[in-house]
Amino acid sequence: MVVHNIYVFDREGVCLYYHEWLRPKPVRDGAGTQSDDQKMMFGLFFSLKTFAAAMDPKSKSNAQLGAPLRIGENCSFYSFRASNYKLHFYETLSGLKIVLNTDENANDLRELMHYIYASIYVEYVTKNPLNEPGKPFNYDTFTSALNKHLRLIGQL
């Protein structure tokens, strides 16, 4: 499995971390600039969450399309597959969102996303005394732990 890139957003929409491993199409041809790319990504899954909750055929509470949601209350999407890539999404109750793009053959990576949150983000970012919540970060320890884990599972 090939991993393309990863984004970490906080609840305010600030992109805290972005890393890419293999991205053949440059950002210029897609969204334009790096910050536009990140804003589009945030807007995408924000709307998808609202959409998924509103169109849910099973749950009893009815979320309307325009109304703001509470995290954890409604059903949420966790991945979507396009013809040549798959996007995985993980959101925590504290509003932190992790987005991972892989190739289209990936399986369900929810365990991996939880591992990235619990054993890599919490260990190297939350427990870092120099980290300010709400500001973008770029710690070598975080990047190397992430690379090490992905290599361990065979870049899956």
């Binding site: 609840r11 305010e12 929409g13 804003k39 945030f42 807007g43 924000f46 109304a67 703001p68 949601l69 509470r70 995290i71 954890g72 209350e73 925590t92 109750l93 504290s94 509003g95 932190l96 939880h114 949150y117 619990a118 054993s119 983000y121 919490v122 939350t126 427990k127 919540p133």
Partner: protein
Amino acid sequence: METINSEILSLTYGSIVRQLITDLEDMDEVNKQLDVMGYNMGIRLIDEFLANARITKCGDFKETAENIAKVGFKMFLNTTATVVNWNADNTECGLVLEDNLLIDFVELPEACSKLSYCQLLCGVIRGALEMVNISAECSFSRDTLHGDDTNEIHLKFTSQKAEAYPYKDDD
């Protein structure tokens, strides 16, 4: 899970409070500083708590309070609290702590009678709840250092916010 000796925590906390008293001298100021310190801890603690406890959601305030008392206190202080005294519309409750390791070895002298020694814990709970969109007020209603028979934290849930789209639409 990593653990440390509880005495190290009690003694370190005691020396922090002692230093704050020496620097600020006014008990209300010290209480406020402890609360702010607790708040800063709480906003970071919540991620570790959510990651290890694997909680997906809490349906209402009752479940939230139970999770704080049973899972939270167990994970960080290795003690459990009991939730008591829910008020009529389930927005206020008390968390009773039988053994509070922060106050091991502590006696409050007369000069510090207005000091709320464990105010840091209240700040932590307030900060952590704010990161999950619940605003709450938290304070000690009964405190063994002031002569009561047990420690009780009074928790009052004020409101729950929803997620708003953070970017302005016309940018």
